[in-house]
């Protein structure tokens, strides 16, 4: 039965329907099976009524009138005709208008075959053109950014791309130029469409006007095979369609999942796939020869690894990484290390994260959809735009709909411009700001009151790798004093939450069981056999132990600690000191170059399994292709190593592992891949965070975080296009690595006699140009993490900064 307050009755083509009150006519009609043609209308964008394709007749006081159904809200008793002669003529007229200046270059257009203009010309067009004049021409195509090209002749000026850029992404860089029939989309002179979300405009374009550099001329739509999966570029897990043609991924499209990504992707989600086919990808096992690597067979490599690991005591082995693998792969790694090797030294984070138990089981834990319904969102962590870009879009959406936003950070973040309040604190002094906020008094009184005034979701994490991880715990503790659905922990690396949930942490066993939980550990031993009793070392602990000689063998799983951990020098020393290093990776990195054996790893889109995002949502990833060359899934690799060591991981395929997880890992009780695919919600399943199978409820406490009092404190944030392994190997975006500057407050700069653009020396070793930025808190310096220019810089809390004379 329909609810009288939420539905209205309308008549479409003589048939009565109950439709959602307040809906736009075009959407209401579509939901009851009446498709009205359209170009400018898009479910996720504000209506503009520009293309006029969706004109229908609505009866009114002065007779039937043609109205655009995309802008017309339904009202009770509305009588609509979508098929009258008048409507047909209007629609045919609009289509003829759209085609008169269209180049009709469909045979060489990427959109041909999946083009709404083609489709609707076929279904709603007049069938022939009466236009015999000369067509309008433009130079084509023109690049509007490094990854997007614009063909103005094909453009139907639907305004979708402009709305995506302006409203969704907050990057108002595409504009309408000129007027009349010379109107065209352009960028401002000298200002390219440099948006982290530019690829979405290509996807929403209803014609072939916007194309991506990557996909252009690569395939015909009817040759594409589409595989539904999720992106692992960050922990949001945006839903995607992976499009393959002739054995290659050629395109990634956003898929609609309103609980997660609303169909949007970051350009990193969308364009990273070209790393799969990078020329220098490792596709065969490699064995160190003393002056490089030689190719080896899998049996040779497996035997070497099994023998060398087997020759160590269990606790002399540690594993680092695994955060970019599936849950099933992570589970097998956890099982292999604990039950076959017998070591508790396991960590999927690289010293840049937060307490694994807090990340896995913060209580209460919010969901992404909670962002749409709370009165305030409170962000204290990394710059979402740079590290969790689709979460940034979700926060923007909530703020567009009236939600308050509070952002705390040592320097400007992408969200500051739309924030209700910004809390700017000196790097290293965050706990002071937090105490002020918690006291509800003093300079942050207004913010405290806002947070106390309604329901709040808190997004917490480390603002950068140089920030004390205990601050995030203190923020999470403060968040528990606020009303609302709870908190979401912010971690960046692909499937970190899945990895932690599978026990890839020094203090966690699969299913969010604490290593200190004797009963929980016993249950896992029932399934696995004996495992180490105590908690192990984390990544930094392992690196130190390796230098000290206590760790003799290191397993690197898709991890590059030399480039991506707080202390690069320590990482180098550890890898050099270790007697044996095996890297399971797809590339030779600054870390795997120290390995004795490199085993080629299958990457995203080459393996199937399940993954868990930052809200604990388990979704399914599919393999669109077999692994490249002789690369293999981690499950197969570890099964073979175990087998060579005389052990059986019972991991013959993903389905078996998945079933074992569903029965062994408490929080995942019943959540197998079969369940996800055949029974679960299409949006994925959030594994329980409170009752039922959840064994660990992590209550954050207000730990004391020491104040850093040195002259200059370091804020060392990641950016979207850093020098990460995937970005470096993804052709179209590899050139987008941000320019490197040290950002410093102008007052500090003047005391140091540093000018905008002049060179400064950091920590006595690194020289970079300075940029004066009043948004940087005084006493802090902002240095980009994981870029070529800052390679080797330690992520300590403070550092020395000096002007370099006679340079810059």
């Amino acid at each position: 039965m329909s609810d009288a307050t939420s539905t209205v009755s309308i008549t479409i083509n003589g048939v009565d329907h109950e439709v959602e009150a307040g809906a736009r006519l075009i959407s209401a009609a579509e939901r009851v099976g009446e498709y009205i043609p359209r170009f400018c209308h898009h479910d996720k964008l504000e209506p503009v009524g520009k293309c006029r394709m969706c004109l229908v007749e609505v009866e009114g006081p002065r007779g039937s009138q043609l109205v655009p159904s995309c802008t017309m809200p339904v009202s009770d008793g509305m009588v609509v005709d979508t098929q009258s002669d008048v409507v047909k003529k209007a629609q045919e007229g609009v289509l003829e208008f759209l085609l008169i200046n269209h180049p009709l270059d469909c045979p060489v257009c990427d959109k041909g075959g999946e083009c709404p203009l083609q489709d609707q010309a076929y279904s709603h067009g007049p069938g022939e053109s009466r236009f015999v004049e000369e067509k309008r021409t433009f130079v084509k195509p023109i690049p509007v950014s490094d990854v997007v090209l614009l063909d103005r002749e094909r453009c139907v000026l639907c305004d979708r791309c402009v709305r995506v850029a302006d409203d969704i992404a907050g990057d108002p860089l595409l504009v309408f130029n000129e007027r009349g029939n010379q109107v065209q989309i352009l960028t401002f002179p000298g200002e390219p469409f440099a948006s982290y979300f530019s690829g979405n405009t290509v996807q929403v374009c209803p014609v072939g006007a916007l194309t991506s550099v990557d996909y252009r001329f690569k395939a015909r739509p009817w040759d594409l095979v589409s595989t539904t999966s999720v992106s692992l570029r960050d922990t949001v897990h945006s839903n995607v369609e992976i499009h393959t043609s002739r054995g290659k991924v050629v395109r990634v499209y956003g898929a609609e999942n309103d609980s997660v990504n609303d169909g949007w992707l970051s350009d990193k989600d969308r364009f990273s796939f070209s790393a799969l086919d990078a020329e220098d990808r490792v596709t065969t096992p490699l064995v160190a020869t003393g002056d490089g690597f030689a190719e080896a067979t899998w049996p040779e490599a497996i035997d070497t690894v099994a023998a060398r690991l087997g020759s160590c005591m269990g606790t002399e082995v540690g594993s680092i990484g695994g955060a970019n693998n599936t849950n099933e792969e992570a589970y097998v790694l956890s099982k292999f290390m604990r039950s076959v090797i017998g070591t508790p030294h396991i960590d999927a984070q690289l010293g840049d994260g937060i307490n694994p138990q807090l990340a896995a089981a913060v209580t209460p834990r919010a969901t992404l959809t909670d962002l749409d319904s709370v009165s305030t969102i409170f962000v204290w962590g990394p710059d979402l735009k740079e590290t969790l870009p689709v979460l940034y879009l979700r926060v923007r959406k909530a703020v567009r709909n009236g939600t308050n936003l509070v952002v705390a950070s040592p320097a400007a973040t992408g969200l500051d411009g739309i924030a209700t309040h910004v809390i700017r604190y000196r790097a290293g002094a965050g706990h002071d700001a937090l105490r002020k906020l918690a006291s509800g008094d003093g300079s942050l009184k207004v913010v405290s009151h806002l947070l106390a005034a309604g329901s709040v979701v808190t997004l917490f994490g480390r603002s950068s790798i140089s920030e004390d991880e205990r601050l995030a715990e203190a923020v999470a503790s403060f968040a528990r004093t606020l009303d609302g659905p709870g908190s979401l922990p912010l971690l960046g690396r692909g499937n970190t939450f899945g990895a932690l949930d599978m026990g890839l942490a020094n203090n966690l066993l699969p299913g969010r069981v604490s290593t200190g939980d004797a009963a929980g550990a016993a249950a896992i031993e029932d399934a696995w056999g004996l495992i180490p009793e105590s908690a192990g070392l984390d990544t930094m602990g392992m690196l130190n132990a390796a230098v000290a000689g206590d760790i003799k063998a290191i397993v690197l799983v898709g991890a590059d600690p030399v480039r991506d951990c707080p202390d690069p020098a320590l990482a180098v020393a550890a890898l050099e000191a270790a007697e044996f290093v095996v890297a399971i990776d797809a590339f030779v990195t600054d870390s795997s170059t120290h390995a004795d054996v490199i085993l080629p790893a299958a990457l995203w889109s080459e393996v199937e399994g399940s993954v868990t995002n930052l809200e604990g949502r388990v979704q399914s990833v599919q393999s669109a292709l077999p692994p490249k060359g002789r690369a293999r899934s981690l499950i197969g690799t570890l099964s073979d190593v175990a087998s060579a060591m005389g052990a059986d991981l019972n991991a013959h395929d993903v389905a078996i592992v998945s079933k074992e997880i569903a029965s062994v890992a408490p929080a995942y009780g019943g959540v197998s891949r079969d369940f996800l695919i055949f029974e679960g919600d299409a949006d994925g399943v959030i594994v329980p965070t409170t009752a039922g199978h959840q064994p660990l409820g992590y209550i954050a406490t207000d730990v004391s975080v020491p104040l850093v009092t040195d002259r200059f404190t370091l804020h060392f944030p990641r950016s979207m296009y850093d020098d990460g392994v995937t970005t470096r190997h993804a052709g179209s975006i590899s050139g987008l690595v941000n320019e490197s500057f040290v950002r410093i407050n102008p007052r500090d700069a003047s005391m140091l006699a540093v000018e905008d653009g002049s060179t400064v020396e950091l920590a006595g070793t690194i020289r970079m140009p300075a940029r004066l930025d009043p948004e940087v808190s005084e006493g802090s310096v902002v240095v980009p993490f994981n870029v070529e220019a800052t390679k080797g810089l330690t992520a300590s809390a403070s550092l020395s900064v000096q002007a370099v004379r006679g340079e810059g």
Binding site: L66, A90, V94, L98, E134, Q182
Partner: protein
Amino acid sequence: MTETILTTRMVAHPADSHTIDRYLATGGYDALRKAVTEMTPEDVAGEVKASNMRGRGGAGFPTGVKWGFLPDTYPRYLVVNCDESEPGTFNDRQLTERDPHQLLEGAIISSYALGVSQAFVYIRGEYPKGARRLQRAIDEATAAGFLGENILDSDFSLTVTIHLGGGAYICGEETALLNSLEGRRGEPRLKPPFPAIEGLYAKPTIVNNVESISNIPWITLNGGNAYASIGPERSAGTKMLSISGHINKPGNYEIVMGMTWRELIYEVGGGIPGDKGLKAWIPGGASAPWFIPSLHLDTLVTFDDVGQNGSMIGAGAVVVMDETTDVVAAAHSIVRFFAHESCGQCTPCREGTSWLQAVLERIMSGGGRLEDIDLLLDVSDNISPGLKWPPAMTTICPLGPSATAPVSSIIKYFRDEVEAMIGTTEVANV
């Protein structure tokens, strides 16, 4: 029929009607004084409603009724539309240049009536003299206490700001004007919401034409009933008409409506130069369908009589064409104007108007085909379905339908001339 309201001062004192001294010497700002000292805002609005004045900008919607649409929220804005760009109209220009204080006083009284403390006057960029004179009037009125804080010692305060347009006809459309004023592209907005509910900066806004506002001081002083008693009941008051084209005495005329077009053209306008025959005229600006002598000479010059005959008084631009006029060239000239001025946001107007232009150009250059006549009509029909009056539209705003008026007019009244131009060129190579 010598009644004048708007042009009395400029006719009597052509040399200095724009100065504050002359304005004050001829009763200027008496109406404002009366309004703020003797009348409540509601009283003023009541007089305007009683006047039955229909908006002078083109649509002819009663000004007092429009004012009544404002919701009870603040701030509200008044925007005076002086983006007069319709080919053939030049009456707002004269009212602004020759009697800026009358316009300003009207804006101040209107603001008082509407509860507005910030008003804007949007003047087309091609009217620098009017803008200069109005700015001087604003400065003088402010110095004299008629504008600014606590006007005439009341608690009513007002700022009036002039904004110069950038040269787009479409910015005369009230919502495009508001976009332009906000610094956006001059594109008409979707309606609803109408400006009275959600206008400038999303606040309730009244947009009135210069001529409408210039009538307000007289209405305030003399009362709405006095205004309503002038002329026919549904075309009350006087109306400024700009007469141009093939006419002996082109210019602006303030008339009382109700005379015939014959009287207007032959008596007011002095007839056709050289006593040539009258072929057609446009009764209300470039966007209005044409009138022809055999049908319309004895039609009355009122909003309703013109409307019932399928055209409009519009902004009051009368363009007269004598028997020598090449109607295809005339229609092309108008269509080209609209194609050039289309904002380009909606498909039928962007593509349709320039298509009409291209077909007319092809016909004029000898490439016409007989089927082009039906094509012109059908393309027009796809912009303005049914080619009826008032026009239906597939577009966002009436600009596109405006471009169809001259096309349908020449085919309706002068089809033989169009066919003759196409003539023997049926097989023309296109």
